[in-house]
């Protein structure tokens, strides 16, 4: 990979300052960024590591909101959110593999917004807020297509807030090689309605399946969506699944998530 300077700030302020430099980029756990850099597909001049910033780590719940520091690993979320938000904790517990979960961070995952990643579905399904060093971004405004988010250059995700639903479940149908989501569906039953967020499937990245949300809001059972379908025309197609197959799986995984959420 190309060489760069690694800086390890201990506060958000120091990190933001470092990020204002030329070609500077945050480094979370690096579980996606480092492989990308090995292929020489990214060439940051400076990497600003977030793992030493204590204020960006940790999981806390209060008032129906789960707050996760931006530098918190998936492994930590899996353990520490288990009682307060089991649906999200279970999702985190199945990202990558154990060693990846010990490094990969929520901030890194959401900033990258891989179209097959799990966290985008978790956040969009929950509803909530991305907190950065400079502002708060509503989950519904945050995701803007493949690998694209509302983040500005040099902006750092310091925390993520999730609205804790009454019931929730995430169903990931794994792509056999990468074990990323071929289709992943996060279903959250909130007091004011159901949210269904789908990752892995669409050419536009994570999306809310509003038709299913409406049906499930009036009847939270798998039967409610059995007659629904998503349009295959906007779905991704590759050697692991045709658009039609992905569209079909969206329905199947949504039904399973609803059933598991109870």
């Amino acid at each position: 990979m190309y060489d760069f300077e690694l800086v390890k700030p201990s506060t958000v302020e120091e990190a933001v300052k470092a990020l204002s430099g030329d070609e500077a980029q945050p480094l979370g756990g690096g579980q996606t960024l480092i492989p990308t850099m090995k292929q020489r597909l990214a060439m940051p001049g400076t990497l600003v590591s977030t793992t030493g910033i204590a204020s960006m780590k940790g999981v806390s719940a209060s008032g129906g909101v789960l707050t996760i520091g931006g530098a918190t690993t998936h492994g930590t979320v899996a353990k520490e959110a288990a009682s307060s938000y089991p649906g999200l904790a279970a999702m985190a517990a199945n990202i990558g593999d154990p060693a990846v979960r010990n490094r990969g961070t929520i901030g890194g995952s959401l900033a990258n917004n891989d179209p097959a990643a799990c966290y985008p579905a978790g956040l969009l399904g929950s509803g909530g807020t991305v907190v950065t060093n400079s502002r708060e971004i509503d989950a519904d405004d945050y995701f803007q297509g493949l690998f694209t988010t509302a983040l500005e250059e040099g902006e750092l995700i310091t925390a993520v807030r999730f609205n804790i639903p009454e019931a929730s479940n995430y169903q990931k149908f794994e792509q056999p090689a990468s074990r990323f989501a071929l289709v992943g569906v996060f279903v959250a039953k909130h007091s004011d309605g159901v949210r269904v967020a789908v990752t892995g499937a669409s050419e536009e990245g994570v999306f809310r399946w509003t038709e299913a949300e409406e049906a499930l809001s009036s009847n939270f059972s798998p039967d409610a969506i059995s007659g629904l379908s998503v349009d295959a025309s906007g779905m991704m197609g590759d050697i692991h699944g045709t658009p039609e197959y992905r569209a079909h799986l969206v329905n199947v995984m949504t039904g399973r998530a609803v059933k598991a959420a109870g």
Binding site: L6, K8, G30, D97, P98, A99, R103
Partner: protein, 161 residues
Amino acid sequence: MPTVSMTVNGKPVSGEAEGRTLLVQFLRETLGLTGTHVGCDTSQCGACVVHVDGEAVKSCTMFAAEADGAEVKTIEGMANADGSLSVIQQAFQDHHGLQCGFCTPGMVMSAAALLKDNPKPSEAEIRDYLEGNICRCTGYHNIVKAILAASGQEVTPIAAE
């Protein structure tokens, strides 16, 4: 070039590392600890798994400078103090849990991390936990058996005429 210091297998070490120097390169090339292997470049095969501050990580997907000040444990530090094989290592030998040996260091390090968190895992839990460790030789059967045995659980004896 910046200097990186850490404790590896209980011994304080330091050496020069560029920003881009991976932990696995630092271990293999700077420290000569070649037991940790590199089998892929997409963070999937797990041949490079080591423990950093007690947690299993992929040393090919972490910069050496990120481990500055950390406690690192590699396969070279897994044997008992008297040099005999540890329980997990011995179980891998007893149950033929390795063939070419290339993935083995990562397997042993992952197994140790699993058993720390889950001292009596089921077969399904072991198979699930090994998602990030690829073995091309054993078909996993005897690796799973070795880990079950290392956790003190009953396993069928190895083949015999």
